[in-house]
Amino acid sequence: MTGGRPGPEPPAPTAPRRAWVEQIMGMPISVHLRGPGVGGAAASAAVAAVFAELRAVDAVFSTYRADSDVMRLNRGEVDLAGCHADVGAVVELCDLARLRTGGLFDPELPAPDGGTWFDPSGLVKGWAVERAAAHLAGLGGAGGLDFCLNAGGDVIVGTADDGSPAWRVGIEDPTDLSRIVCVVPLRAGGVATSGRAHRGGHIVDPRTGAPASAVLAATVTGPSLMWADVYATAAVVRGADALEWLDSLAGYEGLVVEPDGRAFATPGFPRAGA
C-alpha cells in the first residue's frame, strides 16, 4: 500500500529574485528572474524585450483588434502574402498541430457572426511566449540567471546551469483554485494547462462544435511550451482517452483532472515528492 508522502520540501537556498508583470493579450505575463544579476540593466532590458515582442505579436494576431493582420485576413482585405511573415509561419504550424492532434486542434473556430474564422490564438500564445523567452535564455553569462515566464497560466522556464534549483510549478486544482494538484519541478521546458476553470466552456470540440466536457483540465509538460499547450488543449477536447493519447507522445507527459476532481498522470509525469 502506498504510504503517506513526505511534506513539502524545504525551500531552496534563496538566490536574489525579481519579478515583472504586464498585461498583454488580455492576460497577465509574469517574468521571474533568479540569480545574482537580477538587479542589472541587462536583466531589465531582456525583460523589456520579452514584453515588447509579445505586444508586437498581439498587434499582428489579436482577434480583438480590428486592425490586426489576422482580422484583416478574416475580412478578406489581405491575402496571406499581404500579412506579416509570422502569419504564414503560424498557419503552417496550425496545419501541423491539426495533423498531430488528429484534427482536435483546429484554428477554424466559430466566429461571433455565426460563421467560422481563422483564430490561431490557441497556438499563437505558446508560440509567441516560447519565442519571446529566448531573450531570457540569453542571460546566462557569469553566474547566470534562471528565468520563469508565466503567460496566463502557461509556463516556460530555464536555468543557467546544473547548480540551479528546479522551478517549482504548482498545477492548479480546477475544482478549488486555492489548491494545487501537484508540483512539477522543472529546470527547462514548458508546462501548459488547458481547461474550463476560468473561462467556462472555452474549448470547442471541432467534431461537434460544442464545448468539450469530459476532462476538466489537462496539463502537459515537455521541451516546447507551444506543443505542450496544443497537446493540453487537444487532450481536453479528446476527453475519455486523453491520457492514453498523451502517453503516446514522445517527450511530453500529461496530467488530467476529471470533473469529479480526481487526477491521473502519465507514468513519466514529473511530480515533486512522487
Partner: protein, 176 residues
C-alpha cells in the same frame, strides 16, 4: 491458503474503500463491504468457497450497475509466499466496477494498483499502464506547497488580481 485468500480479499475491500473515496461525495454512505464477487485472487479460491463474498453480496442494497462486471483478468500468479502480481476480482460497487492489482514480494503486499475504478456516472473507468492516479495526499494548499509559479487554465487579466500567481508575483515585484 483459505486464510490467506480471505486476508487478500480483506485488503481488496480496504482498497475498494480507498479508491471509492472521491466518489463518496455523491451523498451516499459507503457500504460496509462493497464486494460482490471474488475468486480470481488465487486459483483454488472461488466465490463459492470464499465466505466473505457471499456475505458481502447480500450486503449490497443499492441497485447494481446495469452492465455486468467485466470478467476479471485471470491472475498471472498467486503465490503469496513469494513474488507475484495478482489481479483482484472485478468488484461491483454501487458506483461501478472496481478492480485492483496486488504486488506481492516475499509474501508481503508492497503495492496495490487500481486497474479499474468507476467514474462519477458509475461508468467503468479503466486505469491502464498509461495512467497513474495522483493521490489525494499530494493535493496541497497552495500556501504550503512552496511553489514558484502556477500553471492553470487560462488566467485572464480580470481574474489576475485574485489569482495565486498575483500573490507569487507581488512577493518579488520590481519597483524600478
Amino acid at each position: 491458503m483459505r486464510r490467506i485468500t480471505a486476508w487478500l480479499l480483506g485488503t481488496v475491500s480496504g482498497v475498494v474503500l480507498l479508491v471509492s473515496y472521491h466518489t463518496s461525495t455523491m451523498g451516499s454512505a459507503l457500504p460496509p463491504a462493497p464486494t460482490t464477487a471474488a475468486g480470481e485472487v488465487s486459483p483454488p479460491a472461488t466465490a463459492a468457497t470464499a465466505p466473505l463474498a457471499g456475505a458481502a453480496r447480500s450486503a449490497i442494497a443499492a441497485p447494481a450497475p446495469a452492465t455486468p462486471a467485466t470478467p476479471a483478468t485471470p491472475a498471472t500468479s498467486a503465490v503469496p509466499s513469494g513474488d507475484a502480481v495478482v489481479n483482484g476480482a472485478a468488484v461491483s460497487t454501487r458506483w461501478g466496477i472496481v478492480q485492483v492489482q496486488i504486488h506481492v514480494q516475499n509474501g508481503q503486499i508492497v503495492d496495490v494498483v487500481p486497474l479499474a475504478v468507476p467514474d462519477s456516472n458509475g461508468h467503468d473507468f479503466r486505469v491502464n499502464s498509461y495512467a497513474v492516479p495522483v493521490l489525494h495526499d499530494e493535493v496541497l494548499a497552495a500556501q504550503s506547497a512552496n511553489i514558484d509559479t502556477v500553471s492553470g487554465a487560462t488566467v485572464t487579466s480580470n481574474g489576475y488580481i485574485r489569482s495565486l500567481q498575483s500573490a507569487l508575483d507581488a512577493a518579488h515585484l520590481s519597483r524600478s
